[in-house]
Symmetry: C2
Subunit: 145 residues, 2 copies
């Protein structure tokens, strides 16, 4: 386990699994934009979770609104010490630690347009399979992820 943000992501991914969502970390839905956690639900819903370990970490993120067009619901994942008053009220909130998490507030369901859902699901599928292939076949040097 590495950074505080990655530890929040681990607990978040574990918890979202109990909601039937599978998760992928550090997904690039479009060049220049990287989301901490992208989750794909049993019926195709896409949730995005940004993990913020501190006030400074949150304040440095000037582009979170750019994530909104890439998900049905958007969440922040923070620990219980985080000053949640900072967070915009119309976004989702998850309390997480290294081991688990809990959804405190659901963000609004924005309903992705079908072509974008298709495109995100495709990107998600390819990123997940490529990383899995790289882990399963580490000696195959031409796999770059």
């Amino acid at each position: 386990m590495n950074t505080p943000g990655q530890r929040l992501a681990r607990g978040t991914c574990r918890h979202l699994h109990t909601h039937g969502f599978v998760c992928l970390e550090e997904v690039i839905p479009t060049p220049g934009l990287r989301v901490d956690v992208m989750a794909l639900g049993p019926k195709g819903k896409i949730w995005v979770v940004e993990c913020k370990s501190s006030r400074a970490d949150f304040m440095a993120d000037g582009k979170w609104q750019n994530y909104l067009p890439w998900c049905d619901r958007f969440f922040w994942a923070v620990d219980t010490q985080f000053p949640t008053d900072l967070l915009p009220p119309d976004t989702g909130l998850i309390f997480a630690d290294d081991y688990d998490a809990e959804i405190i507030r659901m963000g609004p369901d924005q309903k992705l347009p079908p072509p974008r859902r298709k495109s995100i699901t495709h990107i998600f599928a390819r990123a997940a399979a490529l990383r899995l292939q790289a882990l399963r076949d580490p000696n195959h040097l031409s796999l770059r992820i």
Copy 2:
């Protein structure tokens, strides 16, 4: 590395990566049907590859035609010793070994209907992400794959 079929799959997956396809092994597109390799292309094409290590292995497979509705193209992956005359002529053929492979013959492009492509891509995405999550977070016992 395990069975001869899994070794053919490894070489096949490596090779399909050079065609821009990402691969996932042992995918269940619908209950009761398991394909050896499912590959997802850069523009969303789905290829299915069945790996056959011997004549007996091929002869025991009475249901390969059930795979056809789940892919744009269907291939057999065999080693160069395999009696390829056994294989139906209107299917794709890949020669594979543990390390690489080569496409010898492309099967016909059947063009999946869009709803089925959507459904397969979704299944592929969830299976890949779940397996990746289980490898990255092996202590999380509730992950069953």
